[in-house]
């Protein structure tokens, strides 16, 4: 089935797809976005149900293999110690993300020059800075200005409450003389732009029915649809098509909500399918001139997969910490150990995040991102009565380095509900990341004790959190050298001049912060570069 051609075709309506659509609005080009998931209404979010927690282990799990919905693609992670997680709907993974919003730092873009590892990015912090600001305004970001861990900027809204838990931990950091700051969050601390402020429900991963969290389903998409961007939902792109003579992308083939296979022509194709979905789509788009997958002459499509490996330490305090009240991931963040210090025995570093705790069922089942239930019997009673209400924890978020053997490939057997090959993840924890986590775990214990914990609990093994592949980066890296990278310094494929990539797959390094603020700033930057270079876009 054929459809009328469009100027710009965006695949994926998540964080990055929405941001670039917004950037390109002013060009008045005809923009179409194809999204494999549905548009969920507020009433579809489980936080309005009595048994809301159950959905975290069923249809609202962050693990697509658990959800197993028609719009999900399965992921084979048998050869990985971390399971990539996501959400497939309008808003993408910002439906169930936690809204923690730190920026990357100037040094993150220059790791080769500064530390002799990985590669420098072809863009830098100063270039992205105005796009971070722009995105913060559109999204509605809360935080406290004056953080000495960053060059100067001001979040548009005051910080959300850090709560008893945050205040307690802050005292611990102060006791140690280490950096901490209230977290920047894409969660409204005040009513903003027609949206309601956060009611501290504490289940941000179940979709924010208040609309306070900065998912693009609440921020960008209502504006975009009003402005005439066409959003076709339940449309899964199977393949990007290419003119075999010119080597230019001609559009896509997709499975529509009507059950039919469609052809959609476009002048410009932008891929925004996240760090696993994007290489999967390119690898599925093989042709005579791209036998190893589209835009893959460098062989780098799918390579250098980076996560943020995590571990956590929990302190048990004398008073209830009320950790379930307030946005889940966001209270305070320490970046004391973010930058390289050669005396520590590793390069780069980590953040110490104080998420809040969670609701009783999730805790009993092992906690968010983990999956080892607490013991049954008398020990269960003891943990739930004497530990659970009193906990405050710190999560060590490590910077992963790019390593080519960590990768996304196509699984030879597994397919999604449309019969399209599913991704397979091969990932093992690098030695540097392992050392970072160990160091972080020790420092976290010290802080918790300094903050007054009467007991400190850690997992006590070497394993990182399993269901914590929230951040997927590096699999179509940016670079100036076409033999070592997939896209150039402003997101355009080296091999296919009218193909752009805007999600976390274009990251060169991972930093040690949640990526979405940077993903969207980059998408806005790519959009801006398209506009600036419009006359010579395909040269």
């Amino acid at each position: 089935m054929k459809n009328e051609p469009v100027d710009v075709l965006i695949v994926g309506a998540g964080a990055s797809g929405a941001a670039i659509a917004w950037s390109l609005l002013e060009t008045r080009m005809r923009i179409l976005c194809l999204e494999q998931g549905p548009h969920l209404a507020d009433k579809d979010f489980p936080s309005r149900d009595d048994d809301y927690e159950l959905s975290r282990f069923g249809k609202f799990s962050c693990d697509p293999n658990v959800r197993g919905l028609k719009q999900d693609y399965p992921i084979n992670a048998d050869d990985s110690c971390i399971m990539p997680v996501n959400f497939n709907a309008v808003g993408g993974s910002t439906i169930n993300f936690l809204g923690h919003w730190p920026r990357m730092k100037p040094s993150d873009f220059k790791t080769k020059t500064l530390d002799g590892v990985a590669d420098d990015w072809p863009v830098d912090y100063a270039t992205l800075s105005p796009f971070y600001d722009m995105n913060d305004q559109t999204t509605g970001v809360s935080g406290l200005a004056g953080n000495p861990a960053y060059p100067k900027y001001s979040p548009p809204l005051p910080p959300i409450p850090i709560g008893k838990l945050g205040q307690t931990l802050a005292k611990g950091f102060n006791e140690m003389g280490w950096h901490w700051w209230p977290s920047d969050v894409s969660i409204l601390s005040e009513d903003y732009d027609g949206r309601q402020k956060c009611v501290n429900a504490g289940t941000c991963d179940l979709g924010c029915a208040a609309g306070a969290k900065g998912g693009t389903n609440f921020t960008y998409w209502p504006m975009l649809e009003n402005a005439g961007v066409e959003l076709r939902t339940e449309c899964r792109v199977r393949e990007i098509t290419v003119d075999q003579d010119t080597g230019m992308a001609t559009g896509v083939i997709y499975h529509g909500s009507d059950g039919q296979v469609h052809e959609q022509k476009a002048e410009l194709v932008i891929v925004a399918c996240n760090g696993v979905g994007t290489p999967r789509l390119l690898l599925n788009s093989k042709s005579k001139i791209f036998p190893d997958g589209l835009a893959n002459r460098s062989g780098m499509v799918g390579k250098n997969l980076m996560f943020h490996p995590l571990t956590g330490v929990t302190g048990v305090f004398d008073e209830p910490m009320k950790g379930h009240e307030g946005p889940m991931a966001c209270s305070i963040l320490s970046q004391e150990f973010y930058e390289t210090d050669a005396t520590r025995g590793f390069v780069r570093g980590y953040g110490l995040h104080s998420g809040r705790s969670t609701t009783p069922m999730t805790y009993a089942l092992g906690g968010f991102g983990i999956d080892n239930p607490i013991p049954w019997g008398d020990e269960h009673r003891d943990v739930m009565d004497n530990v659970y209400p009193y906990i405050a924890g710190l999560t060590v978020v490590a910077e992963d380095l790019p390593e080519e053997h960590n990768c996304v490939t196509l699984d030879p057997n597994l397919t999604d509900s449309d019969g399209i090959s599913a991704p397979k993840i091969t990932y093992r924890l690098g030695e540097n990341s392992r050392k970072i986590l160990k160091h972080g775990e020790e420092r976290a214990k010290e802080i918790l004790l300094a903050a007054g914990a009467n007991k400190v609990l850690s997992k006590g093994d070497d394993a990182v959190w399993w269901r914590a592949g929230w951040h997927q980066m590096g699999t179509c890296r940016m670079g100036d050298d076409p033999s070592r990278s997939v896209v150039n310094g402003w997101g355009r494929s080296h091999d296919v001049k009218n193909l752009f990539i805007v999600d976390g797959s274009i990251f060169v390094t991972a930093g040690a912060v949640n990526p979405t603020s940077t993903i969207q700033a980059l998408a806005l930057y790519v959009g801006d570069s398209i506009k600036t270079n419009i006359e010579t876009l395909f040269d």
Binding site: K105, L144, P148, I160, P161, P182, V199, G202, W376, D385
Partner: protein
Amino acid sequence: MDELIPANEKAGVPAAGALGVADFLPAATPYAIDPVQSITEVLKAVDDKIPDFAKLVRTDKIALLKDVETRHVVDFATLVRLTYMGYYSRSDVRPMFGVGAHPVQPKGYDVARESNELMDSLTAPVRARGQVFRDV
């Protein structure tokens, strides 16, 4: 079930069996591949060992369950998981752990924002130490 999540009588927290969590298990198909099969396997293993489990003293019950757990790892783990789910998904249980009985939306929780003075005094030592990022 009462042995998986026992009661805290002093605090008025009921055990899982007494609360009727068993009713949750057969319908738990979204959360386990075949809950009925797993539960039947565990019950059969208990029954094979000792047909009158209910009559055992508590320490013997626990010893027996631990034995079944080691011999039926997956099914027992499924039973434990589903018991936790059935128990803690109940709105009358959550308040016993300090969490609201209500669905979290739209009411949420009242959490006061720290005053500017409090935030200023908490962050003062951090600001005093100055820049902690590298100039590039």
